[in-house]
């Protein structure tokens, strides 16, 4: 039975048109896309069976993603190209397939494999001292911050969650960030901006890449 099950890993975008939908909404949307595409989904057991698919990492509401990841289990298997052919016409504006490939059924869950992520932040107006603010922030040993979590305000240190922070040279005001993005510790781009004193500045956040800590991706 199990040899007839296949695990596909899809890289997709979450673009402008869908950036305001929550992770939960995205999950419901993707399930319906798969149903419209008539994929041979694998369902969970029980009274309300759910199709088996899993995301790598939730994207904050308002952020776009250039290379988001999800795994989906199918039975009988489907060639990745056939998967793409069926799914692409069913995708709402803003969601596009970038790549689909088959992965080993025994790989750990995507969510447990992701360790960090790259973000590209575009500011509408950058303060003149942005470079200095970034340098100051990186020079600090600790950046005490607070965030809402399950209705409670929790204190945490943002500093260890920032792996890289760069002002990107060029005409626009862009900041590149490499932030921790694991199930136990996740840095948020909006919090980094807040630490830079830019909480109220209009900006756009795009997650450009997810990294695995495993050698075997």
């Amino acid at each position: 039975m199990s040899e007839n099950i296949q695990r596909l890993r899809a890289t997709y975008t979450k673009g402008e048109a869908v950036k305001y939908i929550s992770h939960l909404d995205l999950a419901r949307t993707v399930e319906r896309v798969f149903r419209r595409a008539r994929l041979p989904l694998v369902y969970s057991q029980g009274f309300s069976p759910r199709p088996k698919f899993a995301f790598a990492s939730a994207l904050p509401v308002g952020a776009t993603g250039r290379a988001e990841l999800l795994d989906v289990w199918l039975s009988p298997p489907l060639a990745p190209l056939e998967f793409a052919k069926r799914v692409a016409p069913q995708l709402p504006a803003g969601i596009e397939l970038v790549e689909v490939r088959e992965v080993d059924l025994r790989l750990p869950a995507l969510q447990a494999s992701v360790s960090h992520a790259d973000y590209l932040v575009t500011l509408e107006d950058a303060p003149v001292d942005l470079g200095a603010r970034i340098a100051d922030l990186l020079a600090r040993d600790a950046i005490p911050m607070e965030r809402q979590r399950k209705g409670e305000l929790r204190a945490y240190d943002l500093r260890p969650l920032i792996l890289e922070l760069d002002l990107i040279p060029g005409p626009g005001a862009q900041i590149g960030m490499k932030l921790a993005n694991s199930s136990s510790a996740t840095g948020r781009a909006d919090q980094v901006l807040a630490a830079l004193g830019l909480a109220d500045a209009p900006y756009a956040v795009e997650r450009t890449r997810l990294y695995f800590d495993l050698a075997d991706q």
């Binding site: 319906r32 009274f47 308002g62």
Partner: protein
């Protein structure tokens, strides 16, 4: 020609990150239709005056959206009431109300069509017009402003909103709306558009079937406030006949799919429209006559197309009484066989209270048995006879026993309080009935079962046999609620109330005359909006508005009317005779029932009104 304004994505990006549920305002839903706006001859925006998640669950607007967008030269787009945080952000940023599809400012559309389903959304209508930058009063609008149209069940007693609308479409929009839009298109083509052209168009529109132009009627009042006369001006008809279509047109299949969770986020098809039970409290049962069933084959084929177009995992089979659909078992059997591999859940709202309905529920809830709802509506047989809810205690107990035996552990029961002729004994009868259900449950399952009891306060509605009656004394209702609460302090019973606060307002607005427009406007100016939401509703605002306008909500809501009183909705003819309603009202007072008209015509007037050879006109699967 003015240049249409489009709200830019950048402008929205500045405010959306700071509001709750920003996806409500971002559009791009699957199956939403974006047309070339500039190339369209007639541009209609459809609005639901409540939050997105309520409005998106309204099938009526979806039907009209589908219908209008099928016309190659017309476009329909959507807008809903921005939540209060979004409203504040829009006003601060100077962003006008815009459509979800192309983000055009609503004031640049030719027509705005509001769905009026509930009186407590009326202040939102004014707020939406204002947010769109459109004067709220019809008389203040220029030729550049869109025509403002109202439809839905609220349009059956439209007077309280008369000052704000250019016209109302009464009845089923499938025919009436398109006729109106074509007439508008022709008028505009013929003579361009100006205030004068608009005036002439409204006069012409008033002669179209189902169109009511409130400005073409003059109302006079007696000294005591009752309507003295309702007189058409010029060539406007004295009575406006509600539009009815038979057979039902094909149902829309490419349903717009919200990204966010909405009230009803599922595939839906109307199994049938209308109802033959004749419950005397039920407005829908009176104004949507006659019963019109879709054939089983049509339903199955439509569901096929709908599931292919949406991927929904749940299907709702809508009707006012699902168990009465004449081939319900055959339909469920076919749907179940067809969709078993795809894990499609089927929901069947409004089941009749009997053992047969339990079998139906079992057909669609295999294994899950999540919940089952019955609506006996009243506790005693006498009171059920008064309201013509033809259900006995035995029916309910049989249904409950069957349900508990087949594995349900949890029942929901709906009742009403404040019904005509109600006494304390009728309330005790509710408690008694619930106790019997508990006992039956214990017998069937060998242990305690759970019963959820919901009690709503009855509001007399226009176009029903109870349209002449006062709302019950709310102090008496409160006492009886207390009485029931005490009687139902039982293990396994949960009692739910609907907030009674807004009841008087609801009763006043649904049976009011056009002087109430001033009250609605004043309440809105004092900050009333989202009145249907408990956290926003403030009765004091409304009480102040009534007082300032010299009007009394009790006069409209809590007064017994005489047979010869001119009712503010008498000019709207929904097909059921006033004389029939009056006779039903008196049968009610004598606790005499009227049988389901599938067994034989009860002469409600509909047959003659629509010149139907047969009534009911067509039943499922009949050749």
């Amino acid at each position: 020609m003015k240049t249409p304004a489009i709200v830019s994505r950048e402008a929205l990006d500045r405010i959306l990150p700071r509001v709750t549920q920003p996806a409500r305002y971002a559009g791009h839903e699957w199956n939403a239709i974006t047309k070339n706006w500039d190339a369209m001859d007639v541009r209609l925006a459809l609005l639901y005056p409540d939050a997105y998640e309520i409005g998106m669950s309204n099938l009526g607007l979806m039907i009209l959206y589908d219908l209008v967008n099928r016309q190659p030269d017309m476009v329909a787009e959507r807008a809903y009431a921005p939540w209060t945080d979004m409203e504040a952000a829009m006003r601060e940023a100077g962003i006008p109300l815009f459509s979800l599809e192309t983000r055009h400012a609503l004031r640049d559309f030719d027509l705005l069509g509001f769905s009026l389903q509930y009186e407590l959304t009326y202040t939102n209508v004014l707020n939406l017009l204002d947010l769109a930058g459109i004067p709220i009063r019809a008389e203040q609008r220029s030729a550049d402003d869109p025509l403002i149209i109202g439809g839905g069940s609220g349009a059956y007693s439209p007077e309280p909103m008369a000052d704000f609308f250019d016209l109302f479409v009464i009845g089923e929009g499938e025919v009436a709306l398109l006729q109106l839009l074509r007439a508008y298109q022709a008028a505009k083509r013929r003579e361009g558009w100006s205030l004068e052209a608009k005036r002439r168009f409204l006069e012409q529109a008033a002669r179209l079937p189902g169109v009511y132009v409130p400005s073409l009627y003059r109302v006079t009042y007696h000294d005591d406030g009752r309507v003295a006369q309702f007189a058409p001006l010029g060539s406007a008809p004295a009575r406006i006949q509600r539009q009815m279509v038979t057979p039902l047109p094909p149902a829309p299949t490419r349903l717009i799919m919200p990204f966010i969770d909405t009230v009803h986020d599922r595939a839906v098809i109307e199994l049938q429209r209308g109802c033959t039970n004749g419950c005397r409290f039920c407005q829908a049962g009176m104004i949507y006559r006659p019963i019109r069933e879709r054939a089983v084959d049509e339903v199955v084929q439509t569901v096929d197309e709908m599931i292919a177009a949406t991927g929904y995992e749940e299907l709702g089979l809508l009707s006012l009484s699902s168990s009465d659909y004449s081939r319900i078992e055959e339909l469920l059997k076919r749907l179940r066989e067809r969709y078993a591999p795809e894990q499609l859940a089927i929901s069947l709202p409004s089941l009749r209270t009997d053992a047969f309905s339990v079998s139906l529920a079992e057909m669609i809830q295999e294994g899950r048995k999540s919940g089952l709802t019955f609506a006996p509506e009243a506790g005693s047989q006498r009171l059920r006879d008064v309201i013509n809810k033809n259900v006995t205690a035995e029916d309910l107990l049989n249904a409950a026993r069957t349900a508990f035996e087949r594995g349900w552990q949890h029942l929901k029961l709906y009742f009403m309080m404040g019904l005509p002729t109600e006494t304390d004994e009728d309330i005790d009868a509710i408690a008694d009935l619930v106790r019997q259900v508990l006992r039956v449950g214990r017998e069937a399952r060998g242990r305690r079962v759970e019963v959820n009891v919901s009690v709503a306060t009855f509001v007399p509605k226009p176009h029903t046999p109870f349209q002449w009656l006062p709302l019950a004394d709310l102090e008496v209702v409160a006492d009886r609620q207390q009485r029931l609460r005490q009687a139902l302090r039982l293990p396994g019973v949960k009692l739910n109330w609907h907030a009674p606060e807004a009841t008087l307002l609801e009763a006043a607005l649904c049976r009011g005359d056009r002087r109430l427009s001033r009250v609605i406007e004043r309440a809105w100016r004092q900050g009333a909006r989202f009145d249907a939401w408990q956290e926003h509703f403030d009765y004091q605002t409304w009480a102040g508005a009534f007082e300032a306008e010299g009007l009394d909500p009790q006069f409209y809501g809590s007064r017994l009317r005489a047979s010869d009183e001119v009712l503010p909705w008498d000019h709207i003819a929904c097909g059921v005779d006033r004389a029939f309603l009056w006779a039903e009202y008196h049968s009610a007072l004598r606790a005499e029932t009227t049988p389901d008209c599938r067994g034989g015509c009860q002469d409600c007037g509909l047959r003659a009104c629509y010149e139907l050879a047969d009534c009911p006109p067509e039943l499922a699967g009949q050749p």
